[in-house]
Symmetry: C3
Subunit: 142 residues, 3 copies
């Protein structure tokens, strides 16, 4: 597989909750982090997802928010991965931020240039990558 | 809280509709605008969302479309906020557009440079910010 | 309608599956391609969606991933449209990629500059546009 998603996380399915049209899937990544994905039931069936199965979670960099201070707030986003900023590349409108998690996994986020400035992101800053379960695409070995 | 989301709307929960895995949440913003968010049931429970509770709605600028003419079409997107373009910042690929709503709230959208050109966006143009309920992350005071 | 979405696909509704809060909608585009959209039930009712009805599917370029090699993987994303790269415009952080499908439809994706480089995207390369059902906004004639 070669795909543009900047975030390709390898892991194992922990659990699957099935609704009328959507399924929620819990994963544990190889670095120990927990992820939650929301996919359609048809996809869950087509991929034969089940506890114990290997899977990859794909997340576009543009789906990831960067939080530097979580004081005073609790968020609905199911995926909040804490780490340290490794790199920031800024253009006139966009900026790409790489966050290294403690387990070694790297998370890429594209945010606005203004947001990167306001948050004062630079290598070494503590930062949390935040994304919704619905932003995750799952893949399984063919 | 310090987070990269360009759009942080403060409001109050009006109503909550709970499905098998997802919940739909209606909010009224402090400026009087109505928003709809789609989050997982686990999040709705974890945040103890209920009618009357204060909440913030976070929306990434990259999740927002800009519409300048809605003649002839009705959209499935639950959030359509009409206002006036306040600023446009253009890069080679992306453009950031700020729309001021009548209540004073500002909405930020990142769209392609080409889209901004084709729509002829400039300060003073009428424009509507459009985003899906599933693009909204909710937060509550911790 | 004038809207910033780079992808506006015209088609016809094939089928509708309704859950507790969300509905999944199958479309056939005028070029013959199949699309799947996930919208709220309230939207499906408000738009009076039903098999046979004309609809447009709007997809932001930033919601589209670009895949150049699908060997070894099966993805949960419901929309995978194969074609050929027609153009790549690169900025310092972002790149816009246009993929021409066999039926003539063009799909626009904004990905990171680094992803475009790593995938070696250039006019004539085979590429597949990938996006989730939840990234699609539907519209119907007013």
């Amino acid at each position: 597989m070669k795909i543009s998603a900047r975030n390709i996380f390898r892991g194992t399915v922990d659990a699957l909750r099935t609704g009328a049209v959507n399924s929620e899937v819990d994963l544990t990544l190889s670095g120990g982090e927990k992820l939650v994905a929301m996919i359609t039931n048809e996809s869950a069936q087509a991929l034969e997802l089940a506890a114990g199965k290997e899977a990859v979670a794909l997340v576009k960099a543009s789906s990831v928010l960067v939080m530097t201070d979580e004081a005073g707030i609790r968020l609905s986003a199911r995926n909040c991965l804490a780490g340290t900023v490794k790199a920031v590349t800024s253009g006139p409108v966009s900026a790409e931020v790489t966050i290294a998690l403690t387990g070694g996994t790297e998370v890429h986020a594209t945010i606005t240039h203004n947001a990167a400035d306001e948050l004062g992101l630079k290598p070494g800053s503590a930062a949390t990558a935040v994304f919704k379960a619905s932003s995750v695409i799952l893949g399984v070995p063919a």
